[in-house]
Amino acid sequence: MKLRVVYGLILLLAILPWFIGSRYIFHIATMIVIMIPLVLGMHLMVRIGQLSLAHPAFWGVGAYASALLTMRLGMPPLLSILVGALIPSLMALVLGPIFLRIKGVFFVLLTFAFGEIVDLVFQEWTDLFGGNSGLYGIPKFSILGLRLTQIPHYYVLGLIAAVLIYLLMRAIERSDIGAILESLNEDEMLSRSMGANALAWRVAAFVVSAFVAGISGGIYAFYIGFLSPDPFGFQTIVDLIVMVTVGGAGTVLGPVLGAIVTVPLPELLRDAREYQLMIYGVCLIGFMKFAKQGLISFIVDKRSGA
């Protein structure tokens, strides 16, 4: 019952921008829905017991790839978002078998190093990515002759993608695949003794999570219309960790709440920008100390499955 109230509230929030009608509110709402697939991708890795710091890089690869596919090859935007998202998943498919043999802090460090390398490539390969001065002239998103020119149009696009990917991740979690991933995380020795190929399943999760991060990147590229390496660096890593922690990693709904709460924070704290990271830190400590399961734990207990 309480869960329905939460879904209702989220629905209300989702349509709220139209009642306020401000471009600024639409922008924040659009950023929230763009972040949702990315944080859900990161969350899937958390569910298999791995904190991936590579996801901002996957996000960036998805963004640059889809932008370039449309700009250089003239691919229709929707197709280039989908194809663009395949590139980070391919990277995950190649890197996964190496990275995912390693657990815990070393996996975190490896993915961090990978993210830094990707960020450097964005900065240094100026012919392709435009370097620090950025990649200009990404065309507007268009589909079936419909051209998205206004912020609310992108909000709708992002919202559709966020809902679809939320439903996908929830379906994965509730399916046998979710049970397998959770079994491997809970007791790897036991799960393997029954025949499960732990590495193969982890790589599959990594590939899917990189794909949804890539989708998020593609939509971001067409929305912003200009890409620089800046958003794909360390700050986004911190933001994603805050979202997962504040929202709660126990269910798929948690990170969504995390994104809804966390994305607008920098805007609310605009006058206290220099304190932003400090406030993040305090929030993180507070949640880890007093509400390890995140916001979601105030609403629903884990077992009822949101």
Partner: protein, 252 residues
């Protein structure tokens, strides 16, 4: 004589300068309950772990149904039809007994993402039937972690059964059980063989249990096999008596 189900030939495992298992050979016949015993540090667990795929043998080989499986990873060993139970309780504690058994079935059948649609070569026993066999049918909706220790170990046997194994490796099935639970465990192991046709290879400290249910027993001492035979033969073997001398073991 029928072809052995499991064949261990000249198996040696060293850890640096320590020889944990030295030139061990034995065969488990189909339908046999085979026990491995020995004083502490005899190398039983090492031998068990080599067969279960946790360690590579330093030399020698392990073959299952005529196929060499030496050095195969534990999940490959599992997929070949060798299930295992653990000395300590290993179950999915937060899940119900039903969910535990279901998970075991899907972990075996859908062992990797590409096998999602393909079928596991071994038939998976039905969940209700397995629960009834183990006497867990009334407890299917209880959370596994809330059950008594002995029952949790029984759930562990259920998990192994759901894989549809031909051979079950049991690491100290009686460890941590009270006397009446031990009797039940012995009966269960016998029924696994008699009613389900699952051969059993067990490592155990509990002498009455081993002597009572095993068809044949291998005795290890300091990594070296010192006797192999029926319980009666092993009990009267002088090397075995010497190995256990001074310890509080009583041969039942």
């Amino acid at each position: 004589m029928t072809a052995p189900l499991l064949l261990v030939e000249g198996l040696t495992r060293r850890f640096g300068g320590l020889i944990a298992a030295s030139d061990v050979s034995f065969a488990v016949a189909p339908g046999e309950i085979f026990g491995i015993i020995g004083p502490n540090g005899a190398g039983k667990t090492t031998l068990f772990n080599v067969i279960a795929g946790h360690y590579r043998p330093t030399s020698g080989r392990v073959a299952f149904e005529g196929t060499d499986i030496s050095g195969h990873a534990s999940d490959e060993v599992g997929r070949r039809g060798i299930a295992r139970t653990f000395q300590a309780v290993h179950v999915f504690k937060n899940e119900t007994v039903r969910a535990n058994l279901h998970r075991a079935a899907i972990l075996a059948r859908r062992h990797n993402p590409l096998a999602w649609l393909s079928r596991h070569p071994h038939a998976t026993p039905d969940l209700e039937g397995t629960a009834a066999f183990l006497g867990l049918d009334k407890l299917l909706d209880n959370v596994a972690g809330s059950l008594a220790y002995g029952l949790q170990k029984t759930v562990g046997v259920g998990l192994a059964m759901m894989v549809g194994p031909k051979l079950m490796l049991m690491d100290e099935p009686a460890a941590g059980l009270n006397p009446s639970e031990k009797i039940a465990a012995a009966a269960l192991i016998r029924r696994l063989r008699d009613e389900r046709g699952i051969s059993v290879l067990l490592v155990e400290h509990d002498m009455p249990l081993v002597m009572g249910i095993c068809d044949r027993i291998l005795v290890l001492n300091q990594g070296i096999p010192i006797a192999l035979g029926t319980p009666a033969e092993v009990k009267s073997n002088q090397a075995v008596i010497d190995a256990y001398l001074g310890e509080d073991y009583e041969f039942a």
